[in-house]
Symmetry: C2
Subunit: 304 residues, 2 copies
């Protein structure tokens, strides 16, 4: 298989790349990188990404890192496969690019703080989360702009699903499992958009790849009905959440078969410190965010 993705189910950046690959209906191999043991910082991974982040990507002799750069390579290289995710009309393309940048520069920085408060502090550091009211208020203002935009067009860049929408999926999928879901559901057009982009077959398939249920992924590949896929996803999603609770002494789904002992709360905490603030590594479930407020490990490659 030509395309290889070195990543983790705990990485929103990895999931972003998988979303693109499943939308483009491309075959690929997902090689799980064990964040808990710091595998992303080991020489074999530093040779793939010198900043020690995931995902890393290989397509024959093309070797890349940075999830959004990988995605742009994929859509440029395979324009006629699967879903067309980019426009060729110059003005439309400019609008798509603008909303892709909004995700990266405005949306993502706003939600990583929430992810820190709502997930990481409690699960990885055993701290009580602070009321996320301030952060949610900021998100609230931001989502007003999204609601206004989505009242004008079905998708962010127009009437067609594009990379602008796809880029948002991983963090939105995470937030839908937190109390912040309510601020999305309070908005008619925004919540319709969220339901739409999360129910896409390619999206469900990508999340199956990040879990351990390869059979479910295979079923989806061969055209399982969306309702079935949703049920499968719900199961996998629950499983992931339960397994992540530090107290449960089981292997993480997606761990390599011979990866040794299951990670403990301690190893998860260590991993969180390692990946603390790496934009292209960290994800809410794994712990950490690009810039968690008062994160104990703010800044990239702090432990390199």
């Amino acid at each position: 298989m030509a395309i290889k993705v070195y990543g983790s189910m705990f990485s929103t950046a990895t999931i972003r790349v998988l979303l693109c690959l499943t939308e483009k209906d491309l075959d690929f191999e997902l090689i799980n990188i064990d964040l808990a043991s710091g595998e992303h910082q080991m020489p074999h991974m530093l040779s793939r990404n010198p900043f020690g982040q995931i995902p890393a990507f290989e397509d024959g002799d093309v070797k890349l890192f940075e999830s959004r750069a990988i995605i742009l390579y994929i859509v440029r290289t395979y324009p006629y496969k699967g879903t067309n995710l980019v426009s060729h009309d110059p003005k439309q393309k400019a609008i798509e690019t603008m909303w892709m940048e909004v995700e990266c520069q405005v949306f993502d920085p706003a939600v990583v703080g929430l992810a820190w408060e709502l997930w990481m502090k409690r699960f990885l550091f055993g701290q009580k989360e602070d009321p996320a009211i301030g952060l949610e208020k900021k998100l609230d203002c931001l989502l007003d702009v999204y609601e206004s935009r989505l009242s004008e067009s079905k998708y962010l860049a127009g009437d067609r699903y594009s990379l602008a929408d796809l880029y948002h999926v991983p963090m939105i999928k995470f937030l839908m499992d937190t109390q912040t879901k309510e601020v999305f559901e309070a908005r008619e057009h925004l919540s319709a958009w969220v339901r739409d982009i999360l129910a896409r077959r390619a999206c469900l398939k990508a999340y199956c790849y990040t879990g351990e249920d390869a059979a479910a992924a295979t079923a989806l590949t061969h055209g399982a009905h969306t309702a079935v896929a949703t049920a499968v996803m719900a199961t996998i999603s629950d499983e992931i959440r339960v397994t992540l609770a530090p107290a449960r002494p089981s292997a993480l789904p997606g761990d390599p078969p011979n990866s040794g002992d299951a990670p403990t709360a301690s190893t998860l905490r260590r991993s969180a410190r390692i990946v603390g603030a790496r934009p292209d590594t960290t994800v809410p479930p794994q712990g950490g965010s690009t810039h968690p407020p008062q994160s104990p490990a703010f800044g990239p490659i702090s432990d390199a």
Copy 2:
């Protein structure tokens, strides 16, 4: 004049767009937005960018925001003007895109914290800066990767200046006026690259546009010698630094002629709160960063 940029000399994002326009040798009009009075949050600017950030951009009926999206529009729309800043070879283009993403996802988040410590706290909030040793250490590790990369090729994406290099200019230009200059100068290939990209004629010209010396900009447009341009830039740069000191009761260079009283330390602080954490608005001199650690105004559109 068809192209209009609504921005500010205090905004690295604005400067990023100007750098592209000067490299592409395009005529444009820079409309100064008075951050100190919160002009970027006023209706006429919110209609140009609903997130209340600068720059905003107009080229005829094309209206955009987000500096990197604007730049990609410019290079796609005017491929044969001025410097060719993007490659057409697919593999080379992928490498360029990867290093453009590195700037955005790795480099920028690392240096905005430094900008906060080294500039904003002292000048805008009257606080003593904390030793930036931790932040500089993180930058140090990151710059090792850059040094390694630049020992392989003259520019980040290869042997030719590209958007990957241009994206880095605004923050590097700022850091060269701080103690952090030393960590760049300690690396042979990195410091050669910095000297090269900051000495480009288009770069000097862009910085003239952000100052008040329109004559200097005009001189550069008509082919002033680089040494002369450097001298002009040094003058303008000094002027900007001195004028920014809160105690000096003078108008900010670049303020509209009828903008009223010169900003005081108080108005600068207010402005800093307003633009606190907006990636596409904030710049070190104005105060704030995308995610300043423990910033009193973390988060986007907090004051919208």
